[in-house]
Amino acid sequence: MPNRISIRIDGELVQAERGQTIFEAAQANNRFIPGLCQFKGLSTVGACRLCVVEVQGVNRLLPSCTTPAQDGMAVITRSAKLNDYRRQALELLFAEKNHVCAVCVSNNHCELQAYAQRLGVTNVRYAYRYPRLKVDMSHPRFVIDHNRCVLCTRCVRVCNEVEGAYVWGVAGRGIGSRIACEMDRDWGKASACTNCGKCVQVCPTGALAEKGFAAEEMVKRQDLVERLATIRGTMNPGGSR
């Protein structure tokens, strides 16, 4: 079986490697698809839904991060409908928690903000929820601010799959879902945390940050984790969970 396949992205024929997901194939060909939960080297979960695309012959939208590219597949990554849906998804995330960019350490270095900018979000049509959420400062080096969390679960996966410490999990369900440390401990009292900081580096927003930075100062070093994750061989293209 040849290792190269061809697929059509937005009408244009491009080459991809067998086993790549649509997302990876698009990225390899410099096509932009937004995605918050996807992270190179970690397993895919298809949770944020920003990366959905239309595939010819399939009557529903598919998450490009979990759908394998197949030879001859015709994919639409941009359309008025997709743009509207993705914007709605972003607006829902902004309305869900308390994202006050002006005072955020990741302001201007935030994936959520960048996507909003790129997709032309100028305001949020939904009512802001203003939940009362914790900021856990108990860890000596890091901080988790639940007000800024988009529940992408990159932190959970990097901790499980790369570091193997299993510190983070998702507690609760539905709109009450939140990232929790072990048996809901303060992070500073976590029994298994190795203080490696990978969770901080993969976090797309300012929810996980290093202490000691002021607004706009936190720049995540995702490249390091990506490389590590790939070297450790946990990279799992098109994989599940």
């Binding site: 499980n160 299993y166 999990g169 998702v170 507690a171 048996m183 029994s191 298994a192």
Partner: protein, 176 residues
């Protein structure tokens, strides 16, 4: 797991034996974690999952604490707080709803002076216990007793076609 677990606080010998037994019974079987947790909760007079037992379970089985916490906060059946000695359970199924079950819930809450907890993040935020620990009021998605709607359950006894007054009388009985 190589880390040092937190001190296994107040775990009684018999609880530990019970846990060892049930873990070895269930080990490796599908649905094991759910079954073990159900058994633990069922054994507590206050129908909840005490933290020390969960910590021991994690240590003994190697299931990460974060996963156990994930599971116990996901399913509506599990309680992390002690439950009341009596339980009043109101069905919020469709048939019951169309026959006014929410009004029953309001009236019982009012009678017991309970308020709805907002955004607690628990799976079933409609659960509340009186401060004296006497009565827990909860709801259930559906008893499957739709032909008897509206339905309430007081200490596991089903009351069909119940109205506010009848339910209030039952609750009054509990508090005696």
């Amino acid at each position: 797991m190589t880390f040092a677990p937190p001190s296994p606080a107040q775990l009684r010998r018999e609880d530990q034996d019970f846990l060892d037994q049930i873990i070895s019974d269930q080990d490796g079987r599908p649905g094991m974690l759910l079954t073990v947790l159900e058994r633990i909760q069922e054994r507590q007079p206050e129908k909840y999952l005490p933290a020390p037992m969960l910590e021991y379970l994690a240590r003994r089985t190697g299931i990460p604490e974060s996963r156990i916490y994930n599971v116990v906060t996901f399913y509506a059946l599990f309680n992390l707080k002690p439950q009341g000695r009596h339980t009043v359970c109101i069905c919020r199924g469709t048939a019951c709803h169309t026959r006014g079950s929410m009004r029953l819930l309001e009236s019982v809450r009012l009678q017991l002076g309970l308020r709805e907890d907002e955004d607690e993040g628990s799976a079933d935020k409609l659960t509340a216990t009186t401060p004296d620990g006497a009565v827990t009021v909860r709801t259930v998605a559906c008893f499957g007793q739709c032909a008897l709607a509206p339905v309430a359950e007081v200490d596991h006894q089903v009351l069909g076609h119940v109205n506010e007054r009848a339910l209030q009388r039952e609750v009054e009985q509990l508090r005696r």
